[in-house]
């Protein structure tokens, strides 16, 4: 589904990614872990099409189509979703209005009619229940005054509404208490099926207790240095990253 080949990227002339190779197949959950500054968030921004980063080499394929030259909204229309680590506030725009606009823009881009209002309402109700969201929440301004947990829950709510092919969860666990973490993870698990894929980017193993990955990759200094199964995350939790570094150097 998502294939990344020899990806190099820089921001303000500083090389951040130095040759990433990654293949995620439909139905899989992958996790990328790594110490601070390894390039984890850069990778997610680049897949989503943030133009502050420059791709200097390599390719990104979605279902066999090269997407690294596409605008961020075009990638979104093709099914790329990024759950932001720090979702921005948009004052005066309600959660409902925002998601309605997002859905209809995607439908328009894919040659479909706007979603009828009753269908939209039904979908919103269904998905907000999945994430145990208060109805009042939906009429609040997007992310304005939201707690950390509310922001992340809102991200996953949008993911549930948009039904992406590939969802990238960038540090979705940061700022979450244990209950919110459970709700968010539960939501992701329910949305997971054979036709989509999830890429979890995280610093800690905590989230992976709930969203169990098929593969865990360790990203260090702009490269994937180790790949393993779910147990690799536990090992990292226990031993930290230094041993991998030493392994590399050895």
């Amino acid at each position: 589904m998502l294939q990344i080949k020899n990806l190099h990227a820089s921001v303000e002339d500083k090389d951040i990614l130095k040759g990433i190779n990654l293949e995620i197949k439909a139905g899989e959950v992958h996790a990328i872990m790594g110490p601070n500054g390894a390039g984890k968030s850069t990778l997610s921004s680049i897949i989503a099409g943030n133009e502050n980063y420059e791709v200097t080499e390599g390719e990104i394929f979605l279902d066999g189509e090269e997407i690294s030259e596409l605008a961020p909204e075009e990638r979104a229309h093709k099914g790329v979703f990024l759950s932001f680590q720090y979702p921005v506030e948009i004052p005066g725009v309600s959660v409902t209005n925002f998601i309605k606009t997002a859905i209809n823009e995607s439908r328009k881009a894919n040659g479909k009619e706007e979603m009828p209002a009753n269908e939209m309402l039904k979908l919103i109700r269904e998905k907000s229940e999945l994430l145990e969201m208060d109805r009042k929440f939906l009429s609040r301004s997007l992310n304005e005054g939201f707690s950390g947990g509310e922001k992340k829950r809102n991200e996953i709510f949008q993911m549930a509404m948009l039904e992406p092919k590939i969802a990238i969860l960038d540090e979705t666990d940061s700022g979450l208490d244990i209950d919110a973490l459970r709700i968010v993870a539960n939501g992701v698990n329910k949305l997971k099926n054979e036709n989509n894929a999830v890429l979890v980017i995280t610093h800690y193993q905590r989230l992976l207790d709930y969203i169990v990955p098929d593969f865990v990759h360790v990203l260090m200094d702009g490269k994937i240095v180790k790949t393993g199964g779910a147990d690799l995350a536990l090992e990292l939790e226990e031993k930290g990253y230094d041993w991998i570094k030493q392994e590399q150097e050895a």
């Binding site: 943030n50 133009e51 502050n52 909204e73 921005v88 004052p91 997002a102 823009e105 949008q158």
Partner: protein, 500 residues
């Protein structure tokens, strides 16, 4: 006098680093090339006075309109006062002063006759309304809105008069009111905006050509939104409407005013006066959507909009001004409330959008005279292109205004790096029991906001519209439903393609 100048901010833009590729340049070009949607000119057979202004012209206007002697004299007095006055220069706008001797002060479509039925109206006129999206028929049926349309200077179609008549509501052109209801006009005209109030008000008092008059009797709730659609058609003419709205005790009225003008190279002058009188317990809601021609992308042409709008509140009365200003090359406008009666309330909700070379100096004055008077000011300024957008407001608390309250909020949103937002709030309080709050924010549409929207599949253009509408939400919510939709569209059109 205790005078305090608080929180005067001047925000000019600096080049923000990291502007990403998708933003300004391409879109700016697109915006600049966007033509003014209402820029068409209708071939009507009109009757226009020769250019220039003197006592004879003033008399001629009055005669043309078959006005009584007192009205002619009133105009002449205003004209004489105007001659002694100087054009104000304190506003934060730069423009070439109009040559008042190069303007024609009267232009009426020849075929218009206020007594005609809608079917008799010049088909060209009707076509023009259609272009404006205000087909009279449709408005009549769909919106339950009675419209008094002023094209250039004469009212050509007044609808719903009958329904209004049954309630004793008078809604007609001011010329008609002068003839049919002289006692009401004479009693109230110039009581809120005196003829010598300011340069443009004096000019308007001397030469006003037409406008609307409305009277709501005691205890009557006007059952529909009253609406006037102004449009400047004839080249080289100034439009000087005069609106007088009297809401008798315990009555209620909501009034809508919309404006457009065709695009022309020369600047067109518009100097209107609007007077509102809310007697004891009455409530007036006055909403304006103004999208007069703003000039082209080089700043050539466009309307000069120098307007005096003021309302008087008696005991327990309330006046709300809501305005969405997207047009005009230069705007100079301060819809104000004189809170004379105890417990009276004044409100001002404004969205002012400037783009290209537009300049707006707009705001309000809240004059608290009575006890327990309250005022609220919510001003949203949006600047794009090379425009300058200023909020100028005065909150004045009189010595006898015990427990007066004011809350002001002025928010500015900037797009691009060449525009400016300025806030000039003046506060004068002579009563220690007053509570006055002023909040101001200035923000820029963030790249991160746009990227967030993009990531969810919302293209940049649409993202900007969404963010701007969100920013303006509090004010848009104050507009009557049918107007709110139009205003929202107008915001999108005015800002299409400008990103910061």
């Amino acid at each position: 006098m205790h005078k305090e100048l608080v929180d005067v901010e001047r925000v000019s833009l600096y080049k923000s680093k990291n502007m990403s590729k998708y933003t300004e340049d391409d879109l700016k070009v697109e915006l600049e090339n966007k033509e003014y949607e209402y820029g068409f000119y209708t071939e009507l057979d009109s009757e226009t006075f020769p250019v220039g202004l003197n006592e004879d012209i003033v008399r001629a206007i009055s005669k043309k309109k078959e006005e009584p002697e007192w009205m002619t004299e009133w105009r002449l007095e205003a004209f004489r006062a105007w001659q002694e006055m100087e054009e104000p220069e304190w506003a934060n706008v730069n423009y070439e002063k109009p040559d008042f001797q190069a303007i024609s002060y009267y232009s009426a479509p020849k075929k218009a006759d206020p007594n005609k039925k809608l079917e008799d109206v010049d088909p060209e006129l009707l076509a023009m309304y259609k272009k404006l999206g205000i087909s009279v028929d449709e408005q009549k049926k769909m919106n339950n809105v009675a419209i008094d349309i002023v094209v250039d200077s004469v009212s050509v179609a007044t609808t719903f008069k009958k329904t209004l008549n049954e309630k004793g509501i008078i809604f007609c052109s001011i010329s008609e009111a002068i003839k049919e209801h002289p006692e009401l006009v004479r009693k109230h005209l110039g009581t809120v905006v005196p003829m010598k109030d300011n340069f443009y008000a004096a000019l308007n008092s001397a030469v006003f050509s037409d406008g609307s008059f409305c009277y709501i009797p005691k205890g009557v709730r006007c059952p529909m939104e009253l609406s006037t659609y102004f449009r400047i058609n004839q080249g080289g003419t100034g439009q000087f409407e005069r609106t007088l709205l009297v809401a008798d005790e315990e009555s209620y009225v909501s009034y809508l005013e919309g404006c457009t003008a065709p695009s022309r190279d020369e600047n067109q002058l518009h100097a209107a006066v609007v007077e509102l009188i809310a007697m004891d317990g009455a409530e007036i809601k006055y909403s304006t959507v103004q999208n007069w021609y703003p000039g082209n992308k080089e700043g050539k042409g466009g309307v000069y909009n120098f307007v005096t709008k003021r309302g008087l509140c008696e005991k327990n009365a309330k006046i709300s001004w809501t305005q969405v200003e997207t047009g005009s090359a230069v705007t100079w406008k301060y819809p104000s409330c004189v809170l004379k009666g105890d417990n009276s309330i004044g409100e001002f909700y404004s969205i002012a959008v400037t783009n290209n070379f537009q300049q707006a100096d707009t705001g309000t004055k809240m004059i608290h005279l009575g006890k327990n008077t309250k005022s609220t000011i919510i001003s949203k300024g949006i600047s794009a292109g090379k425009s300058q957008n200023s909020y100028r407001g005065l909150v004045q608390i009189g010595a006898r205004a015990e427990n007066a309250r004011n809350f002001s909020q002025c928010d500015s949103l900037l797009m691009g790096n060449n525009c400016g937002a300025h806030t000039f709030p003046y506060i004068e309080s002579k009563n220690a029991s007053a509570k006055i709050e002023h909040e101001a924010t200035t923000s820029k549409i963030g790249e991160d906001q746009v990227f967030y929207c993009n990531q969810r599949g919302i293209p940049t253009e649409k993202a900007i519209a969404l963010i701007v509408n969100g920013f303006s939400r509090e004010v848009l919510n104050k507009l009557p439903m049918e107007f709110a939709v139009e205003a929202q569209k107008l915001l999108e059109i005015s800002l299409e393609g400008s990103v910061g």
